[in-house]
Amino acid sequence: MRLESLLEEKRIVVCCGSGGVGKTTIAAALAIRAAASGRRTLVLTIDPARRLANALGVSVLGNEVRKIPPRKFAAAGIPLKGELHAMMLDTKRTFDDIVERFAPSEDIRDAILGNAIYQQLSDTLAGSREYMAMEKLYELHAEGGYDLIVLDTPPTKHALDFLDAPDRIMDFLGGGVVRLMVKPYLLAGRVGFKVFRRGASGVFSILEKVTGMEFLKDLSDFILSFEGLYDGFRQRARRVKALLGQEGTGFVLVTAPERLVLEEAIFFYEQLVAHKMRVDAVIVNKVHLAAGHRFRDSASRRRAQESEAALSPERIGRLAGRMAEALGDPAFRSTAEKLLRNLVQHQVLAGMDARNIEVLRGPLGDGVGFVEVPLLPIDVHDFEGLQLLNDHLFQAQAA
């Protein structure tokens, strides 16, 4: 699917991929493009490193939606027909908000928020970042009135970490696991701890031996106080999962041309497909292009490089000599050598990227949009940079 259509037709676009490939920046650029073209757009990032805040020039995004001032668009010369909002997710605060919102009573709310286990768990529990992102996504999708939400995801090695987060966390909170584990303790709370301790056996008493009794007691208190919230959590988790599988949700896989990163992308892609999630487009970011950008696609670039046999050191020496002679300036020879060597190095990088990218293209299904973005000579951390990135994202496709 072409990126233009994606931004026009979808209600949710999920940007996923491994760390360090520029996912957050791409998400911000796509959101800017969608907003410019008239959609009321929200970009939601869950990266704890505040990258989007940097990229959008909003120093603190907090855990609330901020509207990006239209003057930022004007200053960068981008006509704005829609609106852009941004939010950086704070896992702990989202969790706290949900507890406050859905706890059946104030006592229970305070018991949860004050529980030592909850305080340790709420932002470190495996999958809780991803899960809270899903909760927030659902809430904003249902209540925010946005035409499009662009979601930047935490860097996970496995697409599953992200997709299964609702299940995994429900496994934990929903009681299946923990309630079975701590059931004797829950009962002990009612019939008396000492009675229970005498009867404690099996896995439990062993775990107690290793972790210490208090830990399990705190855990059982936590589970008990969470009882009234399970059903709501489970319902929302189910709806979020359904939402991700809908026609209106698109996935964009972002990657970079290094071999290991691309292998992760292929793995990621296959996992998404196996889970019946549609990957609509793949973006390869930070690609070294051959000088002159003469060839748009990696296959023709690679062929071109193979035919232009690389300049050997001897030929570089001879050519540099000819260049210095032509200018009548012997001192130019060393500069010329550097020029030639540098070109060869660039071509080596471009050829290497092109070969890596071809490996990625193989497994991609028909109809998956594919865009290569060159390594830019600037840092993308402001609107001008994001606009330049968009020029490449959308122009590359047009060619």
């Binding site: 490193a49 990258r51 470190t124 495996a126 062993i206 031996k209 830990f215 540098n342 080596v348 600037i378």
Partner: protein, 341 residues
Amino acid sequence: MAASLLDMRLLLVTGKGGVGKTTVCASLALQAAKRGKRVLLVEVAPREHFTRLLGAPEGGHTEHPVAENVWALNLDPVLALEEYLQTQLHVRAVVRMIMGNPVFRRLVNVAPGWRDLITLGKVWHLERQQDPRTGRPKYDIFIVDAPATGQGLGFLRTPQAFVEAVRFGPAKTHSEWVRDLIEDPARTRLILVTLPEELPVNETIEMARALRERIRVPFEHVVVNAVAPKLFTDREAKELRALGEDRDRSSLLASALGDDARLEDLLGAADAAMSRRALHEHHLRRLRAHLGRPARGGAANQAAKTLIELPFIYRSSLSIDDLRGLGEILETGGKGPSGAT
């Protein structure tokens, strides 16, 4: 004066995803081995990057040789947990009963922090092991490829978090032992790896602040990876700019080149290299300004940081010799003859 990295027992290498932590770990390992040390490289499964980088067969959750005097361990936290329970419970059948319990396995899937703790715990355990014949430590130095930042600081905070969460019992004591190892300035150093780019540098500055304020793991070194070398002198840069606008000289050069290369490609590539270098210099200056401040308290975490620059290497995959070269630079802090400064 920063302590020499290779004199440590434990190096924890961390940084944002994609900055080259694995390269730095492997280079340090080769350099330590060159100094006669026995090295164990530790990464956390399911990665298996060291063996690939060093061209050795995959070894999984067992210590296996990957280069002369270098071993690698692709630590599987679940297996490490099993080993830990074995040391605590002694009876294999009991451990198997726990590990095989479906409820326990599902708990293990979601419970936070324990993977980090058990990873560090395993390193702690190995750090105490000796060669029974010689009485020497089994390994002289442990180099851990720690999870990417975001989670990276959490990794370092886990032992203390456990000490606080578990009020007593063996797990608390063991967490304290692990914490004491990673916070020991005589044995441990944390190394932050970054790239000379906007966002990685921002994150490194943030992490350094968090380390100063909240985490007591000794930290003195920041490694800036893949720095574009300064190719052209300022005079040459000026000359090349002038050349682009000088039609006569340009056409002389173009005819000298003939079909071998196009002048505009040469100048374009030179321009790209120079803007890249300028960009990298800018970010190196930012890092220096933030991390180069002199000591306030004198403790390791307060002191000015040593910035080590590793040059960008124009190759599709790094060779062992490339890694050895980087290892030299890492040991000398970039001040040696092969330094990239």
